[in-house]
Symmetry: C2
Subunit: 289 residues, 2 copies
């Protein structure tokens, strides 16, 4: 975190590739030991094209890493009760090691109730209340994937959050809040900002580490960035645009994630890693379920 | 929150009294409807005199509010497994509406595992992972008692956290972290500080609302306080001393809690309130369990 005019680009694409390679080795080891592959169940409600693309991308990455995926597409008219029944079935199925319910679900569905139907032992996407508290308390459990990917990116670039100030912009249950919790558990002094924050630019200017997770294109301006700060852009808006005005911020940041190729690829790599973790834990020490 | 030289004292003792009166009315209503009283089970491991005093105080307050309490004292040598068995028994017992495991337990006991044996529906002390996530996500559930008491105190004095900056000093799982979560859920911009915070006085100086939860006598000095700020002292150190240097802070704060008589009384009143809530929820709409 030095004050240079040329920020270090945090290359999430490369890091995710080597991370997925390690996961693929572990998936192969699981298959050698148990005679079957780790299996991720994906559930998609409705036919939003972007969501369908995300699920397909995750399935492709699974396949290439030696992880089976089993997909359950459900109509947009699915009720909360029907969705919960499907997810409970997957939670109880010994062939399934991890469960991903693609976010968002249609408005009439109670997404929280559906998430809570996921057995915490299979919550490889880190969306349950149990996983959230485990992140906050530093207990064993699964990370929310994007927050977990951000922490792995910081680690890979030797950015230790301990003793630093971090400002997280955004407080969604699967992004802003858990990344705040993980940074606090790693001894950062964390400020969580949002739409009701009175003077956001001033708050951001205090931060050694900035995480932008608002979902508004180029919302964070370059002159909000403290010179030398680490800038993590978790936004992904239409047209491959992040939440940070990259061209401005790169002039002041010490390190910065590009969009695309920064945080995005890390998200899927954490999902795969945690699916293999779940498979090993469920198989037990002797390799039998 | 005006800048006067004489801060308003936030009288938790008076507020708790009227709060407990309302709870006693509701407990009596429960008894009329069901023929039995709300029941809080207390569990104390070991013979720490301060903990024994706290438990006795809670039992006395229960009795005066028309709430039964059932006490299980356990020897200091109790194992984690034995404690979990006791708590599971209380979780399954239909006569028991709420469960309080007195903190702290002896060092050899896994306190988190013991807390997690409490059925979330009976977690009237708000210590489980489920309750923590419910506080963070603004879902139905029980508050940790001291954080819940702090929010009720703010409400009673018309301090709306929305749009304000809050600094919480301390991050324990039953005090600092949940009060941060509750303030964020109420739209404050929250900074959680701790022993690794680089410049604590400067951080505190930015805060409209300061919550001190460190457990170090008079740790927060008067000149750290922004003029007009609301100062909540959740500390309770030997000799009735809080975490805030009261004589200094009262000169700058807009409102401040005394120690004793500020936050402390609110803690027990939330415990009683939530025990009666739990009893009603478990009894169901027709008043039968």
């Amino acid at each position: 975190m030095t004050d240079t005019s040329q920020a270090v680009l945090m290359n999430g694409a490369d890091l995710a590739r080597s991370h997925v390679d390690r996961t693929a080795d572990r998936a192969a080891e699981f298959e050698r030991r148990t005679g079957r592959r780790p299996c991720l169940a994906t559930v998609l409600v409705g036919d939003d094209p972007a969501s369908a693309t995300y699920v397909r991308m995750k399935q492709n990455r699974c396949r290439r890493a030696g992880i089976d995926s089993r997909h359950t597409p459900l109509p947009a008219t699915t009720s909360t009760g029907e969705l919960i029944d499907v997810i409970r079935g997957l939670s109880a199925d010994p062939e399934v090691h991890g469960i991903l319910l693609q976010h968002p679900v249609p408005q009439h569905v109670d997404e929280r109730a559906a998430f809570e139907a996921i057995d915490p032992a299979k919550d490889v996407d880190g969306v349950t209340m149990h996983s959230f508290a485990a992140m906050a308390f530093g207990l064993d459990g699964f990370d929310s994937c994007t927050p977990g990917g951000i922490l792995r990116l910081l680690d890979a670039y030797d950015v230790d959050p301990a003793g630093r100030t971090a400002v997280v912009i955004g407080r969604s249950p699967i992004l802003g809040r858990p990344v705040s919790a993980l940074l606090l558990a790693r001894d950062a002094t964390v400020t969580t900002c949002h739409s009701r924050t009175p003077d956001l630019p001033s708050a951001v200017r205090t931060a050694d580490i900035v995480v932008a997770a608002v979902g508004r294109p180029e919302f964070v301006r370059g002159d909000w960035i403290k010179p030398g700060a680490v800038v993590i852009d978790a936004g992904y808006n239409p047209g491959n645009v992040g939440d940070v005005a990259f061209d401005e911020a790169v002039e002041r940041a010490g390190m910065i994630t590009p969009v695309p190729g920064g945080v995005g690829p890390m998200t899927i790599s954490v999902l795969l890693e945690q699916t293999v973790d779940a498979a090993f834990r469920q198989a037990g020490p002797d390799g039998t379920s």
